[in-house]
Symmetry: C3
Subunit: 211 residues, 3 copies
């Protein structure tokens, strides 16, 4: 696995773009921020996961900061969302789909980068999940929402599964591209099933139904 390959860059930048759109649309929908707030939240959402990943790997300065393409893609995504996000009543669905797309792409790109820098298999799976949920968690903390990773049963799990598929593929000698695509698709499908059917993981015994 090689994080300098074009494939890795395409995965990572596409995830960055999806989360920039997602964060910026969230800023418009939930917090009614102005253009600076919209683009800033888009950039934090887009770049946060990769920054946490690179800090944990000791790969400093983080690529999301030292490589101008990440900054440019995140800023453009925020700007596109600012201009396009005028139909406030139709933002909820694109926000969820973009979030699932970013989650899926970062789960595999995070796991890939972990393998590339030599962490163990279990750590690569965890790192993929942290990369995937990091940006959205930062987004939710900044706008004072309970993070999706805590409140939504099928948020961390699809990210773990997607990262696991990639790492298992790597162990079995599958080529990078099909392993990454399979992992991302599996994550995306599980996440969207959760969104579509409102599936949550089991509640603690004795707490009964939640509203």
């Amino acid at each position: 696995m090689d994080t300098t390959s074009p494939m890795f860059l395409v995965l990572d930048l596409t995830g960055t773009f999806a989360f920039a759109l997602n964060g910026a649309l969230t800023a418009i929908r939930v917090a009614r921020l102005d253009i600076v707030g919209v683009i800033t939240l888009g950039m934090f959402t887009a770049l946060g996961g990769g920054m946490i990943r690179d800090v944990m790997l000791g790969a400093l300065p983080p690529a999301t900061f030292s490589d101008w393409r990440y900054l440019a893609v995140a800023a453009i995504g925020g700007l596109v969302a600012f201009v396009a996000g005028r139909h406030l009543d139709r933002l909820a669905k694109p926000i969820l789909v973009l979030d699932a797309a970013g989650l899926s792409l970062f789960a595999v790109s995070g796991a890939l980068k972990g393998l590339d820098l030599g962490v163990g298999s279990a750590q690569a799976v965890i790192l993929g999940a942290i990369t995937a949920v990091g940006g959205g968690t930062l987004r939710d903390v900044l706008i004072r929402e309970i993070p999706a990773v805590l409140s939504s049963g099928l948020y961390a799990i699809p990210a773990l599964v997607g990262a696991f598929v990639l790492v298992a593929g790597d162990q079995l000698g599958v080529a990078d591209l099909p392993a990454a695509i399979t992992g991302a698709v599996v994550c995306f499908v599980i996440r969207m099933i959760g969104v579509r059917f409102g599936i949550d993981a089991p509640s603690p015994p004795g707490t009964g139904q939640r509203a």
Copy 2:
């Protein structure tokens, strides 16, 4: 002082377990999360302080991430709390005691690791306190509570005192084990006195009584 010693590992993993239980019980009590949210909050609480410590020391990847025992202990703690936490009306006290235990153990393990990696004495004390309060602060931010380190007068102070006891013992040539145990016990006792008697530090002059 040696952070590869069994003693250090026992201190650090016991603190991890206490905070995993604490974070997971908090998730059940305050935020009524499902199993994924409960275990996730347990793991963030358990691993957050050590991650911040290792990032600040430049000891990357953080031990809490690269060493599978931390991940396993944190996940098991979260799972145990999920299963055991069914008596919702009796969670408040165990949550406080476990938080005090994690605070005490991380205050000394954080200071120990700082000394081991060669930071100065004052920095080791601060690092112990940051390690101790880090996980709980992350927990409180994620569930949108004002962090205990800000709202509770006797939260940062016992952590500073416990870390100071350990560092002073190290300077005076006291063996690791008694210094660590003394520091942790002092921290725990001060914290529990604060909890028991609701002692807060003085308010700013002129602001009068607080509710």
Copy 3:
């Protein structure tokens, strides 16, 4: 540019002091915290931006932690604010002015340190802005406010402009001191104009006026 110069240290410590006063006064005004909470929030606000900067540069342990002068200045600032902040009805304006001062000083010191450690020009500008807004963002998250960087149109922009002025001056061969002072003054003036006239950046098209 040289971050070991007295000039850099004066800029960085003055910014630290301004943010320590600001964070501590905010703790008194908004959250009614006791002395430990007041000083802790002052220290987090004062040291947060520089810590994020140094983590991103891989300059670990962060100077704000390894160099005792930062810890001392931040603690003294918090203590001064605790004692002086008794006139609750007059805190709003000093809080805003101190925040603008810290923002301006950290924008140039962050960009200076980035250039000194060899990041590119665009990255140095971004790093200056992150350093400038980091402490205040941490402050707002901890007291559960929407961060100023999101809600105030002229918060990130003056920081970016101030850092840009410094980096442009460096490129054009201007001496450090006038470049830093000019950058800080430009940032401060833009920020205070925004505060004075309540200027916000444009809202997304179609969202109409905000309350």
